[in-house]
Symmetry: C5
Subunit: 256 residues, 5 copies
């Protein structure tokens, strides 16, 4: 689970709820179904126009990724690859088949499977690179969609408020209703600001970070698997891959 | 038909209509012909100044493209090219003439026609590349125009509202008319926000996606036709073109 | 004359005038000399600070260009160059002197004159490239100045409105004057929005398009003149230059 | 200590305090714990979602860096490296061990230590470059986080104000409370503007400057240490490193 | 003196003063020392945080440059360099010492002095390039600082207005004071808009132009001095340097 996404989202919502409670106001003053419909529905509709249908329906997967991604431990990843390389060197490539079950990362499983099946290196690299490319595209399109929805949500908030004001101003026969009419009109602007600034925009930013991290992991995995297949010395593989690791984690090893 | 453009646009408009109905307001409160004239006309006028007349009148074609583009099926496209390559290899280039009628894509028809006519490869590539370039330019100019209109529409909305406010403030002899005067003044801002955020801006974004997709299809077609003309083996053509396809769709074939 | 600039500007102004007439308001409600002075003068002053004096005084030429540029007909341009090349090949370079009068484009006249005078090719290219560079600089600086004025005009509109509000709020002894005071205060914001969104910003965008088009024409002319001077075959010159033309216009010729 | 950060921050806060005192207002009118909670908490929460947890908790270190960084004296740095090079040339690399205690900069200590330990040059360069990269990443991520918080703080200020307005407008039974209700509602917007424009945004800009300076220092140190290890003449090292210094500081030496 | 900076600034201020006089208002309505303190002081404080102290204190020099820079006459500059080259060729490099007094441009004096002193060409180029670099850095940092202050000034204007509104809304016991309270509150926003749009932002833009011009002059001077030192033919130097001059100024010479 991505702790910072989860804590951050709960903290932001909790703070707003706490502010309402401290102010002694009732939550019902902020609840208005048509307002939610206009803002959330509008942001969804505008986002849907922006992208192909397939990209749009990926949004669930993208948001899940914001909360459920696991920061891969690069040091462990390299250790696993080195251990696989040792098995391959000692017992041959086919021996890796027995170890596939221990591997969690689907991308590595795909690579090892192809290596075991005797797929040619160029084909393995081509397929894995296309896979990397397609993960990068999915993340980039997902970030783009979240950015667009974060841009359109406040716009629909303003549209809703303008509609509310026009309705209210068109019928001022009951002056005592002006205040509550305006309060309702402002709710759409509030909704637009909240969903944009707590959900869409920060999620888009986090997705950018996750993307960078995941591409790094996939790059390391790809190089490791190609090294294993060509029968490189496990030590050489380790040394090559560890240039991706900050030196503090490496220094102890270097000395050893 | 582009489903996401169509559904998104209808959804956004439907939500706003539903919000009006739920609020028990009449649609006539939001209808004001001069306001529409100022905002829509102003956005059109400003957009017209920004670009050459020819680019401006392409806007109909551009918007049609947002709704009516068909996402080309790249796998089918490659299959068709491979099948044409087989015919050419078996029965000679001239045999392709009989198959031109089955091809839907005008760009491929153009290429095959030139190949059948014995046009030199450099000329074919030159003409098809210029065609690709001119599609890219039309899309880019179209996106640019929509972006500009999405930028100027809210500006004319504000201009209309300022004009309405100045008229209203200049004559406050009848206080009971202030509310309705302000309601009318706000309508232009509402119009500007709606046409910008439901039409111009999301359409511009979708056009960017369509452009990328269409250029990819044209690139694949161009390479396929050049391969057919030079008499390449259909299998080689298939392999070259399929590097454009994500591996999941390819893997099964690779095994075969 | 640039039709789209002219029609667009007149349309935008006409729409605003029509809206005033439909609203039954008098134009005098929107006329306020000091407001115009602050906004237009302010935008001019700020624009003047931004650039060297020489660039600033080019603004007349730049705006004239927005309305009076003629879209060069590239096909005709190439035909003219090819025809000049035929004369040169048949009757020698000096024969071009007699045809200089038929050429409208000053840039081509300059090039042909130098070729006739026997100027060395490197010098011709050097001088014509510097001329191209200086046209590009004038356009870029002109666009930059218009963009800056389009940015500062609304700022001075806001400054004027703030000043009007401060004056009005400072003396509220006559409540009946508040409305008209505020109306006058808002006029500067209106002026700022109008001159920015009808004049400065769209003009700047159009200038960008004109620049691209004119540089293309000059590039074609330069290559043509260098080809003429080196005595190239007119057909080769035609073929080289026509890669700048979209294929639809070319196809008929290719067949011929 | 970074004087400009410290003076600037204190000056900005002092000016606001002075303005309150001059206006004869009480500070309590601007103190509202729930408002602070919403704005500061909200900016923290949104910033936390944007980045990995580890990056977020680096923020203390980053802010400390804004106030406590010492502008390294590049001339002194070069002198120190040259002096170390002389020791190494005269008494051998191992003699540097005795001088490690005089060095303040941890990065240089790391490099010298590795040189003394006989680490291979490629390994030293690799480790030091990864260290430089990781400092650059920490600064860039820190600047990014401050920029995001500077963007979200005003958004949460607006959210708080909208909530306050909705509460106030929903209950206007006591007209005399409207003014104070609105005052409280505006406090969140004020807080958002203050923490964004005095803290987050200027700190982010300063961090960019510090980053550039520190990377320059590390680059000089790295080149110096590699020169020392390869036994370069101290004069050559000095000359190479001093191309990083503006000529005014160098000229006197050149003459000598 | 930079005429456009001077005229533009005086024009903008004059227009605002004229508008006040025409409106029959008193200047004292716009004078409020604490407001000026908050806005100007705040912009200074935020700008000071953004940059190192040394860069901040360069601001006086930078603003002086906006008003006092002299547009160098590039044609005269080239003539001077050519004349120096003739002296050097006729009477030897040392003869240049006698002509140093006629040179106004400090950068050229520096170069000639070094050439006379027999400094090696690489050293001259190195020192002059570092000097060019340091002028570019000073200008870029100066523009950056002005841009930041132009960004923070309106923010502090808004902070001041919010503070004024909160004070005013907190004590509405005297309704007749509301108008004047709000007028005072708005003064900070007005100040922020004025100093940002008349001073900081246009000054930053002008500085960008001055920078480009000055770097061009220094580049020409550097090439000229290196040519003089290596004893190039004055005609060759002239020809090389004049590629920096637009052709209209050159054409007459070419004919000669």
């Amino acid at each position: 689970m991505d702790l910072s996404s989860t804590i951050g989202t709960l903290l932001a919502l909790g703070l707003l709820a706490a502010a309402v409670i401290i102010a002694g106001a009732s939550f019902s003053a902020f609840a208005d179904a048509p307002s939610g419909m206009v803002v959330i529905g509008g942001a969804i509709a505008a986002g849907m126009i922006c992208v192909p249908l397939k990209t749009f329906f990926n949004i669930g997967r993208v948001v899940k990724c914001v909360f459920l991604n696991k920061t891969a431990n690069i040091v462990e990843l390299i250790e696993q690859i080195v251990s696989l390389a040792e098995t391959a060197r000692r017992d041959g490539l086919l021996a890796l088949e027995g170890r596939i079950d221990e591997i969690e990362n689907d991308f590595i499983v795909l690579g090892i499977q192809m290596a075991v099946d005797g797929t040619r290196p160029e084909v393995i690299e081509d397929i894995m690179r296309t896979e990397i490319e397609s993960v990068a595209t999915r993340h980039r399109d997902g970030k783009y969609l979240l950015d667009q929805m974060g841009r359109f949500a406040p716009a629909f908030g303003m549209i809703g408020t303008l509609m509310g004001l026009i309705i209210m101003l068109g019928d001022m026969s009951d002056p005592s209703a002006i205040g509550s009419g305006m309060a309702v009109a402002l709710i759409t602007t509030l909704y637009g600001a909240i969903i944009s600034n707590i959900f869409f925009l920060p999620f888009a930013e986090k997705l950018g970070f996750i993307n960078k991290q995941e591409l790094l992991v996939m790059e390391i995995a790809l190089r490791g698997i190609l090294g294993i297949q060509s029968g490189d010395n496990p030590r050489v593989i380790e040394q090559t891959l560890s240039t991706f690791v900050p030196p503090k984690l490496r220094l102890s090893k270097e000395a050893a």
